[in-house]
Amino acid sequence: MNNMPAILVLAPLLGAFFACLAAWIQKQLSYYIALAAMAVSCFAAVSVLTDVITSGTMQYRMAGWAPPMGIELRIDLLNAMVLVLISAIAFVNLVASVKNVEQEISDRAPSFYVMYLLFVVGLLGVTATGDLFNLYVLIEITSLTSYTLIALGDKDRAPLAALNYIFIGVIGASFYLLGVGYLYITTGSLNMADVAVILKGIQGSSAVLTAFILCILGVWIKMALFPLHVWLPNAYAFAPVGFARVVAPLMTKVMVYVMVRLMVTVFGLEYIFETLNLADAVVWLAVTAILAGAFTALFQKDLKKMLAYIIVCEIGYMVGGAWLGNSLGMTGAILHILNDGLMTFALFLAVGNIIYMRRQTAFSDLSGLFAAMPWTMAGFVLAGLSIIGVPPTCGFFSKWYLVLGAFEAGAYHFAAALIISSLVCAVLFFKVFEICFFEADSGAGDHNPAKVITEAPVSMLASLGLVSVAIIAAGIYAGTIVDTIILPFLQ
């Protein structure tokens, strides 16, 4: 029997409690325990992915009980890919963010790492599980840890942002829980595969429709789809960098994964696209989300806030792609989970480096960055180009699939929104590049930072370099990823 699926989730969980105990002996120990735990988890994730590719879906029975009675972890190609993404990003971020954590929350660093590990446990568990209620519990772990860690950021505004996030997050999670309740009352089961089988017989029921709407609505709130996104920009912008770097690329993407999982595995695509007539409305919603996200980003005066609105815009891509109702759109959405995770992570890594050196991310403070931090800015430019969708980078390929899917579905408004938002992103990023490239004439004149290279520490740059390579690689091997992972999953 292969225990890897369990180890994947358990390594960070055990690590968290050992780190908590070790902090009483030596504060530094907890960081190394966290690092080791994430390394184990990362290794397990990769091994699970290779196993799944060679020998198909893996099932792991918790406590040895057969699925509908007990909880099972069910890992197919889609989860395996997302699991590798999560554990890799969490691991790399742990390496990159030591110095940021020391700078921002030095007195509470061990507790920060414990919370961080629990957050990652939540994400991994959400992705690995095959049980609807277990998913809820794990979503609550991720939410609870992210409320706390976000509140540790900016002293004045972060607690307020976190409290708003709590209110909205609780509504989202509760809607999901209610949806599961409606599903349970109509099917009598909580296992995703089992529920899917039973649902085939009772598709006309209004309770199932309500369950579907509640579940999807809950997940949308958690992923911050446009009208429900109000919590996201403040929460991500005021969070401590060490955490913002991992929550921004992962949290929303995992929720998109949950949506895809609910659509494909639990309710079934036929039910959604043939029995219900919601797809058009949702694609329109996605179009609004993309445009609103992109145009609001234009008016921001702070780099972190701008990136937060870009995330809102990217969520629109994935939701729209998934609801186009054809396999090209779904492929694009799934590929974009991977690509957007990488791109956002790279952007936030670069932002973290800038904050580490300059403490500020308002546009007015960014002048002369190209001269002062050439490597960081190189990574930033690459990630920016990827967000815009310039060919060799991975961002281009997922957009390509999304646009193709939009044309196939006849959703020209979605294709237009994609192209417009790409243009807006181009404007945005070139505005930032321009500010960073030219030295401001006044203000920074006294100490003249441009003349000296004040680059971030090597650990941060190496992580950024690694992620930049991954962005290019994901672009070059996009075809392979689609052929080996996404298309077999969708069949």
């Binding site: 029997m1 225990n3 369990a6 358990l10 969980l13 055990l14 409690f17 050992f18 908590c20 105990l21 009483w24 792991y60 029975r61 918790m62 406590a63 040895g64 009980w65 509908p68 009675m69 007990g70 909880i71 007195d107 509470r108 507790s111 920060f112 414990v114 919370m115 629990l118 446990v121 209620f133 277990n134 519990v137 794990l138 609550e140 772990i141 609870l144 840890t145 706390t148 509140a151 540790l152 607690p159 209610l178 409606y182 349970y184 009352i185 109509t186 099917t187 009598g188 089961s189 909580l190 039973i198 029921s205 209004s206 309770a207 199932v208 429709l209 309500t210 369950a211 709407i213 509640l214």
Partner: protein, 274 residues
Amino acid sequence: MKFFGFVIVCLTGGLLLYGTMDLPDWGDPGSPASTHLSDYYIEHIVEETQVPNLVTAVLADYRGYDTMFETAVVFCAGLACFLLLRDFRPKKDRYFRHVPTGVMLHFKNPQTRLIAGNEFEHMDKDWVPSDMIIKTVCRILIPFIQIYALYVVAHGDFSPGGGFQGGVIFGSSLILMAISYNLKTLVKRVTEKFLSVFAALGVLIYVGLGVAAMLMGGHFLDYGMLAPLLPSDPGHIRALGMLGVEIGVGIAVMAVMVIIYINIVSEGRHDEGL
């Protein structure tokens, strides 16, 4: 905002009402929820696990993986209160009482230090001498509450109860101590280190049992695999495993309840409050 809230409430309520139309009637024994999994649990649990309390059996065994994360959620909450509120800086205004005479001293300068000794006692700002009746009654009650908590934990397999309930009762007995005496008394007896170690330890017992089962060659949390480790009737091993898990949960919940209480009432200073 009020109108906006009203509209949202009406829409959601309408959706939920629409959903209830097709739900089976309340209490209908033939509804899917009461037949599919429920029948299996009711008919097989005693045979498979030897635990008559079905809720405990499902909680700690069939859905033990859920409960593990539930305990982790509790731990998170405790750690969150610590992270958000704990404040190690001493307060500006401090009050001391000269124990033999009862004279209060008020220090405004945080630099001033009082000579350490038994003569002076740190005070709350709005300190009222605790009533003797309250103190005595609570002193007598607290041990009984704690014994009852242990009973609830230990008897969770057979009667209503279990780790969470017992842990909360135990934690509340400690909180009662803080209320009837003062926070200082509690913090002196139950130190922060003790609490945080116990909170982590409780969850570790849970996860550790699961990992032990995994090392013995079973699935994670498969208590049946622990049979060679424990000198007991192999048929009863699942019940024992559940008891072990419940103890872990009880410890964690007890510690976390007290951590949350102390941090919130004293705004993280652990000196005075309520």
